[in-house]
């Protein structure tokens, strides 16, 4: 972190402070952790991009079952490979920070849970979501009968317009009923 190229210019810092929910210390810490993930020669690149595998080595994300989806949602790369620039990384931390609003968190939570990126949570998305929650190995998953019952119950409860999928507004409606969501949707570096 000693080279000047890897330090944040001051006006960028204040711009980031204004546009994200992070404080100055959090932005600087994020910058430090991000540059640690870069290879040596990439650090002098003007806008370096860290591949997804490197991001997934962060301790905060390593054991999270949604880590790949998180990288894909916040990534702005054209080939959708989940790589993140520093600004994408800041976006990630801002959405998961303490002071982010419920609306931002629920918006990004929806996109993370939307495994096929079609704008709604249909049966396949919900099935994948429940499998992520209950564990990766075969013996920790629910049986298919239980899964079907669970997903039909979820759709009964949350699908208001009865089209068989949960769209963003319905998702936000469910989330607004849970007071624990804001405190559990947090990642702190």
């Amino acid at each position: 972190m000693g080279t000047t190229a890897s330090q944040l210019p001051k006006e960028s810092l204040s711009e980031y402070q204004e546009l994200t929910f992070l404080t100055k210390q959090e932005i600087l810490l994020a910058h430090r952790r991000f540059t640690e993930l870069l290879e040596g020669d990439e650090r002098n690149h003007p806008n370096p991009r860290v591949p997804m595998d490197a991001i997934l080595t962060l301790t905060e994300l390593k054991s999270n079952p949604f880590k790949k989806r998180i990288c894909q949602v916040f990534s702005t790369s054209e080939n959708r490979d989940g790589s993140l620039t520093f600004e994408d990384f800041l976006d990630l931390l801002s959405a998961f920070s303490d002071s982010a609003t419920l609306e931002i968190k629920s918006h990004y939570a929806f996109r993370i849970f939307d495994f096929d990126d079609d704008g709604t949570l249909d049966y396949g998305d919900l099935e994948k979501l429940v499998n992520c929650l209950t564990g990766e190995t075969a013996d920790t998953r629910l049986s298919s009968e239980e899964m079907r019952q669970l997903i039909s119950n979820i759709l009964d409860e949350s699908d208001i317009d009865k089209d068989g999928t949960v769209n963003l507004s319905e998702f936000q409606h469910v989330i607004s009923r849970s007071p624990d969501f804001v405190s559990s949707f947090k990642i702190v570096l």
């Binding site: 390593k62 990126d117 079609d118 919900l126 239980e146 997903i151 009865k162 769209n167």
Partner: protein
């Protein structure tokens, strides 16, 4: 047709559903376009034909979903393997039919309600709405023509052409215009809240500032508004710096992160509660320190008795060397302190001192400081309680927990792999339980089962209440016995050594702490014996039993201090300064409580863990009982609040105790415990704990203090209120004197007489509160009704949507049959 509606399925961006402004034209146009086509009964829809052609020129017979690209096929599979061999065009009650044509599927996937979650243009238009709303708040209601695009096309009237020609750039322009016209605070907030990525936000901000600069530079600023502008900027800059400085002082951030990474939010809430209590005590310490302790320390009163020598026992008993110090009530002087008569306080102040010296009326200061600290603590507690309650109270009583559990229960703070595994296990168990409940709700238990369970619960409660009552009686008689012993020993001046007499004072606190330690174990055992259906019921029952125990223990202790000790003040030398004695008692209770917690943590958790590892050879470590620990914290805080009047430095003792407790509990939890194996509803429990802190704890302490000030005679020989009947009377007397000295303050006395002592004010205040409460409850009822109506409306809209889609599908099917002959033509779109 005016537009070239692009339904090109092979376009990679469209297939992947990427955010791209170029797509938005087609997307939002889709519905009104197709309605227009079908209603005007024009020729076959060129767009549908085009895409059909591109799909597969040979196969014209079947709209086979299997021919969709693999990604789309995956998308639309509902979990069964049938992929389109079913009947086509069969209308059912869901939009999940396999046999929709690919055009319909494309339309479905581009519907605004589905694009709002992922496309940039939709987000921009949504935020354009918001900014427009913010601007229009004070204006009259705009007509429907002015409303810009909303997410649901059915709200727009057909034939409104305002939005259909908007491109994304134009929408962005209008958004920027709106942003400019907002105040800077609103603009910053809105930019932060937009769920766009950072580079787009930066460009929006740049454009907004550019245009703002342009408009501003065109007008000539006068020098004073220019100056004002810069001052406001400087102030805001310094405010941000101050905030980030305060944020960087985050106490204990790393340990808290480690705890939450390993144990989740439940255990974290205990440590956060501890931090809150620490801040309360720091505030109390600052207030009392600066107004009471510091002035008295600078002008110490003369000593009547000789100071006893320091032995180690004082740290525990609070007596001896600490007896006549700033720590207790008795030290504080009862007259006005003057800065010039430092050495000779008891004599009346010399005449030349009056005009030049600073005077500080100690009794009045004591009275008002204690009152002020209680008042401010009350306000903070009620505010945090109402905020926390408001977060966890939900208006609509929908019974669904399953969706909430699935969407909200993953705790992203948990980092350690084994804790993640435990969390997954937890969630799985909860889901299975909830599924089982939903499934077996109709199964009823037999009458004999119910009766047996009722008997068990009754027995359990009788056992617990009986044990509590027994212990309370023990405390009552033992305290009586100790009191009589002290009276006797002070009268006789027997030959017992001083140290033994001091140490015997510790007997009562040790007994009380012992009871506080042992009885919850009995409660746990009882709860294990009775079988509870739901874990939340079990938590509530154990919480209420512990609460009853602590409240009764504190009640009997208050009775002992305020009735017996204060009552025997006049006839005994030992209790001449009964307030200091009560202060010492509270100090002792705090210290012994801390020692017992320390021992319980060491022996309870450490020994249990080594026992369980070595002897029982189990892998599971003990769990951390959050409710019991939080109740212990509340108990300690109640003692500190009770002692505020009698020992003004007690908050400092409590601060030290809390700091040490934090580190001890943190290391114990990290070493010995494991993540909780049952679900813990964090915000509900936090609300309960804050409520418990406010109602039994703080209310009880303030009632005791009020009773002391109002009814109990203060001692004659010590303290700021010596020589008066009660503290309130002393306060009143001082105020009267003050008013006599400064006639300007006459209005204060008048206000006091007419407002505080007038019962009419109380009645009017209470009536106003009741009216406000009634009004709010009516508002809540109305909101519930509105929610039900809106849900019905959304369902109806869903039905409309299904109807339209199936009609489109059927029209397409009809059109396709004659269109088979047109495949060779170029539709030219």
């Amino acid at each position: 047709m005016a537009h070239n509606v692009n339904f090109d399925l092979s376009h990679p961006r469209v297939e992947a559903g990427l955010e791209s402004p170029a797509d938005e034209e087609g997307v939002h146009d889709s519905f009104s376009q197709l309605i227009a086509e079908e209603s005007q009964k024009e020729g076959p829809s060129d767009a549908i034909e085009l895409q059909y052609q591109q799909r597969n020129p040979e196969d014209k017979d079947r709209d086979n979903v299997a021919y969709l690209s693999p990604s789309e096929n995956r998308r639309w599979r509902i979990g069964s393997d049938k992929t389109g061999e079913e009947d086509k065009g069969r209308q059912t009650d869901s939009l999940l039919k396999d046999s929709w044509s690919s055009a319909t599927l494309k339309i479905l996937s581009s519907m605004p309600s589905r694009t709002i979650g992922r496309s940039r243009g939709a987000i921009i238009s949504q935020y354009y709405n918001r900014t427009a709303e913010l601007r229009r708040r004070t204006q009259r209601r705009a007509s429907i023509k002015d409303f810009s695009r909303s997410a649901r096309p059915s709200i727009r009237g057909y034939g409104v052409e305002v939005d259909t020609t908007d491109s994304a750039e134009k929408k962005q322009e209008r958004l920027i215009q709106n942003l400019q016209n907002l105040s800077a605070v609103d603009r910053v907030r809105l930019l932060k809240e937009m769920p766009l990525n950072l580079s787009e936000k930066k460009s929006l901000r740049r454009l907004t500032l550019q245009m703002t600069k342009q408009t501003r530079s065109s007008s000539n600023l006068r020098c004073c508004s220019y100056l004002k502008f810069h001052i406001i900027l400087a102030l805001r800059h310094s405010w941000y710096n101050c905030l980030s400085f305060l944020h960087s002082l985050h106490l204990w951030q790393m340990p808290l992160k480690r705890v939450s990474g390993r144990f989740g939010s439940g255990v974290l809430s205990y440590f956060l509660f501890l931090k809150t209590l620490l801040f309360f005590n720091m505030f109390l310490f600052l207030v009392l320190g600066s107004f009471l302790v510091v002035p008295q320390a600078v002008y110490p009163p003369e000593q009547l008795e000789n100071r006893k020598s320091f032995t180690g026992l004082e740290l525990f008993t609070g007596g001896g060397y600490f007896a006549n110090t700033l720590l207790y009530y008795g030290y504080y002087s009862n007259h006005t302190l003057h800065s010039c008569s430092k050495n000779n306080i008891s004599s009346p102040p010399k005449p030349e001192c009056d005009s030049k010296s600073l005077s500080y009326n100690m009794p009045l200061a004591y009275f008002f400081t204690i009152g002020l600290s209680f008042f401010v603590t009350c306000i903070i507690l009620v505010y945090s309680m109402s905020k926390s309650f408001g977060q966890s109270f939900r208006i609509d009583k929908s019974n669904g927990m399953l969706a909430m559990k699935v969407f909200c229960s993953w705790d992203f703070k948990v980092i350690k792999r084994s804790s993640v595994r435990l969390l997954s296990e937890n969630i799985r168990t909860q889901l299975k339980e909830l599924l089982g409940e939903a499934h077996h709700r109709h199964i009823r238990s037999t009458i004999s089962d119910k009766l047996v369970r009722l008997v068990m619960h009754g027995l359990g409660w009788i056992l617990c209440i009986g044990a509590t009552a027994g212990c309370v009686a023990v405390i009552y008689y033992f305290s009586d016995y100790m009191h009589k012993e002290q009276l006797k020993s002070s009268q006789n001046d027997s030959g017992d050594p001083e140290l033994l007499k001091e140490a015997s004072l510790l007997a009562l606190p040790v007994l009380v702490s012992f009871i506080n330690l042992m009885l919850p174990i009995l409660f746990q055992f009882t709860a294990w014996m009775e079988k509870y259906n739901s874990p939340s019921l079990r938590t509530f029952v154990s919480l209420s039993r512990n609460l009853i125990l602590k409240v009764s223990v504190l009640g009997v202790l208050c009775f002992h201090w305020l009735k017996r000790v204060a009552g025997s003040a006049d006839n005994n030398k030992a209790f001449k300064c009964w307030e200091s004695f009560v202060g010492q008692e509270l100090y002792r209770f705090l210290i012994i409580d801390f020692i017992f917690t320390l021992l319980a943590t060491l022996f309870g958790e450490l020994l249990w863990r080594s026992f369980s590892d070595k002897v029982l050879k189990r892998n599971r470590r003990p769990g951390f009982d959050i409710a019991k620990n939080v109740l212990d914290l509340i108990y300690g805080q109640t003692l500190a609040w009770l002692g505020l009047l009698f020992a003004p430095l007690l908050p400092a003792v409590q601060i030290l105790k809390l700091l040490l407790l934090f580190y001890i509990k943190m290391s114990s939890v990290m070493m010995n415990c494991q993540a909780p194996s049952r679900a813990y509803r964090v915000s509900q429990m936090t609300t309960i704990f804050i409520t418990l802190l406010c109602f039994p704890s703080f209310l009880g302490a303030s009632v005791c203090v009020t009773y002391t000030m109002w009814r109990l005679p203060s001692s004659e020989s010590c303290g700021p209120f010596r020589g008066n009947k009660t503290m309130i009377q002393a306060g009143k007397q001082r105020i009267v004197e003050l008013v006599k000295e400064n006639p300007n303050l006459y209005f204060l006395a008048e206000a006091h007489t007419y407002l505080v002592e007038n019962p009419l004010v109380l009645f009017v205040g209470a009536t106003i509160f009741l009216i406000v409460i009634y009004f709010q409850s009516q508002v809540v009822d109305g909101q519930r009704k509105i929610i039900a109506l809106l849900q019905e409306q959304i369902e109806n809209e869903g039905e409309d949507k299904k109807f339209l889609i199936t009609r489109l599908q059927s029209v397409h099917e009809r059109k396709r049959t004659p269109a088979r002959n047109l495949t060779s033509q170029d539709s030219g779109c």
